[in-house]
Amino acid sequence: MQHNPYIYIAVMAGVTYLIRVLPLTLIRKEIKNKTIRSFLYYVPYVTLAVMTFPAILDATGSVWSGAAALITGILLAWYGSSLFQVAVISCAVVFVLEWFLC
C-alpha cells in the first residue's frame, strides 16, 4: 500500500504534540504532594545532565574537542557566565580546536 507523506507528518506531529500538551493543560493546579513536587523540581537537572554526558563527547569530530567543550562549559557556568556566553564560547573552543587538530 502506498502511504501518504502528509498523513505520516500529521501522525508524527499529532502524537508528539499530545505528549507535550496533555500535562500542561490537564495539570492546571499546583500539586500539593511534597514528593511529587520535589520530583518535578529535580526533573530538569537530571534530564539535562543525562542528555549532556556522554553525548557531548560524541557530538564533535573528536572526543578531545568534545571534552574541551564540556570542561569549558562547566568552568564558565560555574564562574557565572551567562547562558549566551557559555553557548558561544563552547562553540568557539570546538571550532578553534578542530581547526588545528584536523
Binding site: 501522525v11 514528593t35 564560547i89 563552547s90 570546538v94
Partner: protein, 241 residues
Amino acid sequence: MNKENAVWFRRGMKNGMPIALGYFAVSFTLGIAAKQAGLHAVQGALASATTLASAGQFAGFTVIATGATYVEMAVMMLVINARYLLMSCSLSQKLDPDLPFFHRLILSWGITDEIFGVASSIPDKLNPFYNYGMMVLSIPGWTLGTVLGIVVGNILPIHVVNALGVGLYGMFLAIIIPPARKNRVIAGLVAVSMAASFAMAKLPVLSGISSGIRTIILTVVIAGIAAVLFPVSEEDKTHAA
C-alpha cells in the same frame, strides 16, 4: 503586549539566538534524512515546524523511508518523545494556575529539550512570553535548516556544524551548573546523573537502549530517589534558584 511581557519576550529572543543557531546546524542533517525518506522541501518544512523534535524526526523519517504503518509511526513517536511528557509535567508547576488555556496550547508546541531547559532555570513563575521569544527564533532556525538540508545538502563546513551543535550542550551546562554550585543536592544529582548516563551508554546490554529511553529511565529513577531522600521545601527552592 504589556511592558512586562515585552521584556520577557526580548529576554527569550536573546537566549533563543544560540538555540536557533544550534538548531540551524543540526537540522541540516535532518533535512538530508528527510530527503532520503523521499520528502520534498515543503513536506520537510511542515514536519520540522510541527513536530520540532530532533531524535523524534530522525526516527520518523526512518519510518517513512521503510514505508511502515501509521500505527508504527505513532508508537515510535510515543516512545522516543516520551521525555517531553516529563518536561511538560515539570513545566506545569512553573505556570501561574490561572494562565489562560491558549497560552498552554502555544507553550506546548515549543517544549523542546533546550527551550524547556532555559525556561526551567527561571526561579519563579514562568512568563509564557519568555518561551515565545525563544520559539520565534528557534522554530524558523530548525525549519530553515531542514529545508536547506533537503534542497542543497549540507553546505556548512563540518567544523562549523560540530561547533554549533556543541553550543546546545553548552546551554545545558549553563542551566544545570550554577544551581549545582549553590545547592549540594543538585550538585550530587548532576554528578550521579552524568555517571549513570555514561555507564548506561557504555556497558554491554544496557548500551543497546536508545538514548531517548535512557533519558526517561534515569530521570524517573534518579529524580524519584532524590525526591524521597531530599524533599524540597519552598525555601530551598528560592535558595537553589
